[in-house]
Symmetry: C2
Subunit: 135 residues, 2 copies
DNA sequence: TTTCACTTTAGAATAATTATAAACTAGAAT
DNA sequence: ATTCTAGTTTATAATTATTCTAAAGTGAAA
């Protein structure tokens, strides 16, 4: 994903491409593989990588804006902090509790044969599978 | 589960059956169906039900002791608070985000046909399925 | 250029949880 | 039964993640 695409991505979702947003978006979206992170880890990585310091509140704001815009998803992981995911497609995860790391599993790599029907009056929105790992 | 069993349950896991622990254990374990709760919700319910007030710190302590003893499991649910579960067997959940409610799914009610192999050097500890509901 | 709604930021506020340390108690030892 | 003590409870402080506030800054429309 090139810089011009980043600008498009931001503008098309009604987000003004400010210096901070562009920097964070480039960091998050200009990569081949999916990236899973917490606000804390992102903050550290940005601080290390970049010259200009972005306020923590801005990182929170930006991550939430990106999530609302559909550019990030939130992953439920054991622990206190919120995890985000640059992979917004329907997919599953390995979770390695030793390293607190998430690894993507393509939706097609898990086939569920039998599934219960939703409770009365409810419908199934989506199915998430977590495969917890050990050594 | 009768009171005598509660006492056994506590003692057999090295927990002295104090007034507070017995009261919480009775509330949690003397029921037919699985119970899912947060410390906050448990605190409210206990306050309503009981005469004697149990300190919030004690509820945290007790819930963690029960979890460590294997009498409660922790469930990962979207949101800030930690959810606990009186069902400690291997099972799955419906999650209704409207009501923030969990509903058990028996392990046998979900059959997974295809599953990816664990990453190098890792093994699969367990598989958890979440079925998110909508109206 | 001027303007202004949107954005960033430092710092305060909030919410969940954990830590501290003093008072209390279950139950073993006497 | 009384004493003793390690384990427990409790009020309160501390910590951590996150959100709020409101003042200063800025992208981009006009
Ligand atoms: Mn979590
Ligand atoms: Mn959670
Ligand atoms: Zn992912
Ligand atoms: Zn359950």
């Amino acid at each position: 994903m090139k810089k011009i695409d980043i600008l498009k991505k931001l503008r098309s979702s009604g987000l003004r491409p400010t210096k901070q947003r562009v920097e964070i978006a480039k960091f998050l979206f200009e990569r081949e593989k999916t990236f899973h992170f917490t606000v804390e880890s992102l903050n550290k990585l940005l601080t290390k990588k970049s010259a200009s310091k972005i306020a923590l509140a801005t990182i929170y704001n930006t991550v939430h804006s990106f999530k609302t815009a559909g550019h990030l998803s939130e992953v439920e992981v054991r622990g206190n902090k919120t995890y985000f995911d640059t992979n917004v497609s329907n997919h599953h995860h390995f979770y390695d509790s030793e390293t607190a790391e998430l690894i993507d599993i393509d939706a097609n790599d898990i086939i569920i044969q039998k599934i219960p029907k939703a409770p009365n009056g409810k419908k199934i929105k989506n199915v998430e599978v977590f495969i917890n790992l050990k050594n």
